[in-house]
């Protein structure tokens, strides 16, 4: 009697297990975030991409995410855990997850990985990024026109090619419309620390900057600029529209949703392959947020014309003649930088003061 019960129990358990296996038809997509989803910037936009995937595929997908994952060993643990929990596709959304992603991917050949802003790929690791420097060119143009003190402050996060490229692109285009412009660059050595970002913005303002560009993730510099008054800023990664029409006069918006949907679809269809995607304004991965009325109409028109030229591919933000900071040649007349050079950019262009931390 007891034995029969036991057998019945075992059968039910087996049945459940089989049912569970059937439910596994869902594609599980994991996201690893460097900041909180409520940062109002970088991570917020990645999370919007995740929500778009859920909306697109409904019950056919299950998404999971972990926020505030430190870059380094802890990231490896988090990614491993996600892979062990049965994720089919994992997006790791910060530059510092590059090596952890590659390491974990080697252990899970059947799981697909997508690493944002990195350059290391494998059979099951793709990389993707957006050409933010195109947006920086537009910002630089507006900033060069808007500054009265001719000092533009720039809050950098880490000295990686991604950030340096943005500084160069903004500087080249600010200089083009305003030859007297000077950049003051502060490295915060963090992606997300509102208090520190606010301090950095305040310091730049105290030292004469009246336009602040940021490459950190929170809205704190916007708040600092607003408190100071007469200082302009740009939204970073997300629109940061709550600070419009001033200090925020425009923004770069990351739009990951189409890419995330396409890649999830590829995994479902079994057509996923390792690729390197780098899209810009033209493909819609980089959006330029509304240029507010604080900007004079002719400057707005100039910025929009530049945007259109970049989107159509007619103009490349890194077009020669350009020299490096040390005076050596970078690009000849009419020459444009190739993607390899851009991806590994580790020098300032001529005219920027200071050195890049190593």
């Amino acid at each position: 009697m007891k034995f029969a019960k036991l057998l019945a129990g075992a059968a039910i358990a087996l049945g459940l297990a089989a049912g569970g296996a059937l439910a596994q038809d869902k594609t599980k997509v994991g996201f690893v975030y460097v900041g909180p989803v409520g940062d109002g910037g970088w991570t917020y936009e990645h999370n919007q991409g995740r929500l778009a995937v859920e909306k697109e595929f409904g019950d056919k997908v299950e998404t999971v995410y972990v926020e505030n994952v430190a870059e380094g060993p802890d990231a490896e643990r988090v990614i491993t855990q996600m892979a062990l929990q049965g994720a089919n596709l994992i997006f790791t959304t910060s530059f510092g997850y590059m090596d952890p992603t590659i390491n974990v991917a080697a252990k899970f050949p059947d799981v697909k990985f997508e690493h944002a802003t990195g350059y290391k790929r494998a059979n099951n690791v793709s990389t993707y990024s957006a050409r933010f420097y195109e947006g920086r060119a537009v910002q630089g143009t507006i900033a060069g026109r808007m500054t009265k003190s001719n000092v533009i402050g720039y809050i950098g996060s880490y000295p990686i090619p991604e950030v340096i490229r943005g500084i160069n692109s903004a500087y080249i285009h600010a200089k083009k419309v305003n030859p007297d412009v000077q950049f003051k660059i502060v490295w915060a050595f963090t992606w997300f620390d509102p208090a520190k970002e606010a301090d950095a913005a305040k310091v730049l303002i105290e030292q004469g900057a009246d336009v602040i560009l940021q490459h950190t993730d929170s809205t704190a510099p916007q708040a600092a600029a607003q408190a100071a008054g007469n200082v302009y800023t740009f939204g970073q990664a997300s629109d940061m529209i709550e600070y419009a029409p001033a200090p925020r006069i425009s923004s770069i918006i990351d739009n990951w949703a189409p890419y995330y949907i396409a890649r999830t679809k590829a995994v479902m269809d079994g057509t996923w392959a390792s690729v390197d995607t780098w899209d810009g304004i033209g493909a819609g991965m980089v959006g330029i947020g509304e240029i507010t009325d604080a900007v004079p109409a002719e400057v707005k028109a100039e910025a929009e014309a530049l945007m259109a030229k970049i989107a159509s591919g007619e103009y490349h933000p890194f077009t020669g003649p350009l020299k490096k900071q040390d005076g050596s040649d970078f690009l000849g007349e009419g020459e444009t930088a190739d993607d390899g050079t851009l991806a590994g950019m580790n020098f300032y262009v001529e005219g920027i003061e200071g050195s890049i931390p190593e």
Partner: protein
């Protein structure tokens, strides 16, 4: 390099602002540890204070109400620590860590609808003649009221611990809780009050970040200040004035290094970035070369039956 771009008056004024959250949290924790309790939940209480204060300030339109609510919220959260560590006698380290994790999650939840909202501004005090003094006026007499409160609190805590009977009892409980108990002092009650005080201070420190220093609400915005406050208490060898010195040093060098960077000083940025930690530790270690020790009962649970 252009050092003339750095305005020393603004520098000192902004270092005081940068140091205040740290100071408030450290003074609170100092009292808690003097009573023999190690509460690692400072970060959690700070962030909870930051959102509670922010929400209250936005809803009521008064920053001062915000600070009151922040102190209340910090104390309320620390009550959880009281239940765990003083009544249930759970391990203090684990309970404190749990408090931090809980506070971070709770604040993210509470803050959902406050992302991107602007808080009412806290006015600077304006004393007719004094605030207009050159140099000194800007440095000493034109801050917000909470900054002065932080300094006053340091003085009061120092005086109470050193000269008053209450301070003596508090220290007795922290040094040897069995002896204090034998003398008839209510160890658990005294510790509870100290923990509540610490929670309120941490809450104030958090609200200072969300209402004055940044001012906005963002998830995780305290970004480790609570942990630095904890370390500061140890390095300051449990002395209030040293905690003040340490907080000002830390805040000062943080602001100074950003200033130096913006002025293009040719010191590698990595050294500048680590300098606040290094110099603060160095100075306080040298200062604490005398024989001041941690409260002897620090981190030990007390139950009258033992």
């Amino acid at each position: 390099m252009d050092l003339s771009a750095i305005n020393p008056v603004l520098l000192i004024a902004s270092l005081m602002v940068a140091a205040t959250p740290l100071l408030l949290a450290a003074i609170g924790e100092l009292v808690v540890e003097k009573a023999g309790v190690l509460n690692l939940g400072v970060e959690g209480m700070m962030i909870t204070g930051a959102i509670a204060g922010f929400a209250a300030a936005v809803e009521s339109g008064s920053p001062l109400m915000g600070f009151v609510a922040a102190a209340g919220a910090g104390a309320l959260l620390s009550l959880l620590f009281v239940v765990l560590s003083q009544i249930a006698l759970a391990n203090q380290v684990a309970s404190g860590l749990a408090l931090t994790l809980f506070g971070l999650g709770l604040s993210a939840l509470m803050g959902q609808k406050y992302v991107g909202v602007k808080p009412p501004a806290m006015g600077r005090i304006d004393i007719p003649v004094l605030s207009d003094l050159p140099v000194l006026g800007r440095i000493l007499f034109s801050h917000d009221i909470v900054l002065y409160f932080g300094i006053a609190l340091t003085a009061v805590v120092w005086a109470v611990l050193k000269y008053s009977r209450i301070g003596l009892i508090l220290r007795a409980v922290g040094e040897n809780h069995e002896a204090a108990h034998a003398l008839g002092y209510k160890v658990v009650k005294i510790r509870t009050l100290a923990i509540l005080f610490g929670g309120a201070c941490a809450g104030l420190g958090g609200a200072y970040i969300s209402l004055i220093r940044v001012p906005q609400w963002t998830e995780g915005m305290t970004a480790g200040v609570g942990w630095i406050a904890l370390a500061l208490v140890v390095f300051a060898s449990w002395k209030p004035w040293r905690a003040l010195l340490g907080a000002y040093l830390f805040g000062g060098i943080t602001v100074l290094q950003l200033n130096l960077q913006a002025a293009g000083v040719a010191i590698p940025v990595e050294y500048l970035a680590m300098s606040p930690y290094l110099i603060t530790i160095l100075v306080l270690v040298i200062l604490s070369a005398d024989k001041s020790n941690a409260p002897a009962s620090l981190g030990r649970s007390f139950h009258a039956s033992r």
